[in-house]
Each structure stands twice: as C-alpha cells, then as structure tokens.
C-alpha cells in the first residue's frame, strides 16, 4: 500500500481578492478530502468574443480548409 503523508504547517494568509466564483467552482478556507468538479459548456464561437473584433488576415493555409468560409 502506498502511503501519502501530508504535513500542514502554519498557514496564514493576509488577503484574498476574487472577481468571480463561476459555475460549479469552489472557494474554500479549510480542509477537504475529495473534490470533483465537472463543467460542460457549449456556445456559438462568435458569442464568446468580448470586445471589439480585430480584422485578422486569413491564415496561410486558408485555401486548404474545408467548411470554414
């Protein structure tokens, strides 16, 4: 049997600043045995663009792509 030994020394944190804890995420101050987090996300590609669109040129091998107009 494999033995995994964890020694927790003194833990002292001054400040935690967090913008957001999003879908099925966690923030914990404390001990835990097991954590399992799943996230499935499906979105149209253009809807994740945030901010102004940059006019990108076509990639080098654009002629060889299929189904990407």
């Amino acid at each position: 049997m494999l033995q995994f030994t964890v020694v927790n020394h003194h833990l002292c944190v001054g400040q935690i600043e967090i913008l957001g804890v999003s879908s099925a995420s966690m923030l914990q101050v404390g001990d835990t045995d097991s954590v399992t987090l799943y996230s499935m996300f499906d979105t149209p590609p253009e809807s994740v663009v945030v901010g102004p669109l940059a006019p990108f040129p076509l990639p080098e091998d654009a002629g060889g792509t299929m189904g990407e107009a």
């Binding site: 003194h10 913008l19 957001g20 966690m26 404390g30 954590v35 499935m40 996300f41 149209p44 809807s47």
Partner: protein, 145 residues
C-alpha cells in the same frame, strides 16, 4: 487516519477576520462551518431569441445532448487492483488564518465555504443557443395570400 502525537491536531479550524461578498446568485452557497457532502449541479440553457419569449414557445433540456452526456470517468487501474493510496495528515497548527476575503460574485452552483468539508462534487452543463423564427414559405405566383 490523522497522525496524532503531541504536536499535531486532528482538525484545523478556519479563522477569517472579515469577508465581503457582493453577490451570490443562481444556487450559489456561502457557508461558515463544516460540511460533509456537497453535490452541486446546474443545467442552463442560455437562449437568445429574435422572437418574444411569450410567443416563441418552450425549449427543453432533453433536446440537447450536452445535458445527458455521461460524465468522464476517472480511469485508475492501480485503484482497481486494490492499490489504495492511504493519506496521512499531520496538522502542525490548529488554525488556518485569513485576514480578509473579498468576492465580487459567486453564481451557478458555486460554493464558498469557511470550514472543513469532506466531499465536494460539482457539475455544470451550460448551452448557449440562438433561435430565429422559421421563414414563412412564399406562395407560388398566382395563388392568393
């Protein structure tokens, strides 16, 4: 399974000086204290429609495979062969100390916990779709509208 001798503690206590949370929404949780098991789950259909929601009808989770795809399984042949890893913890201090916590937002089955937990399972399935009304077929030439 914790090692206990003169210099270790079986359980650590979380000490937080102050906490400032602006928003907890959509089945998010904030807990001060210990917890055994958490099973947080969210299903969301983010729907953007051209037509009004009152006239465009309902949508159903069952229509989209994302909501019934099986979760990926953790493959661990060693565990199956009985090679269990035994964890031994030694806490040198009885406290975890945090001065200040600032969180702007927690949402969608998120968990903020000050304290110990045993098992946390979180699952989120979110699908973004857009719906446009089907164009009405144009009648052939000569037919009355």
């Amino acid at each position: 399974m914790n090692v206990q001798d003169d210099h270790t503690y079986p359980i650590r206590t979380a000490n937080v000086g102050s906490i400032c949370i602006i928003s907890v929404a959509q089945a998010g949780t904030v807990q001060f204290g210990d917890r055994a098991e958490t099973h947080a789950k969210i299903r969301a259909l983010a729907l953007q429609r051209q037509e009004d929601h009152t006239t465009a009808g309902d949508i159903f989770f069952e229509s989209y495979s994302l909501f019934y795809l099986p979760l990926p399984a953790l493959v661990d042949p060693d565990y199956d062969n009985g090679e269990v890893v035994s964890v031994i913890r030694a806490n040198c201090s009885p406290n975890i100390t945090v001065g200040n916590i600032q969180v702007i937002a927690a949402g969608s089955s998120a968990s903020i916990q000050i304290g110990n937990g045993m098992e946390m399972t979180g699952e989120s399935r979110i699908k973004h779709i857009r719906q446009y009304p089907r164009p009405k077929p144009v009648p052939p030439v000569g037919c009355p509208f």
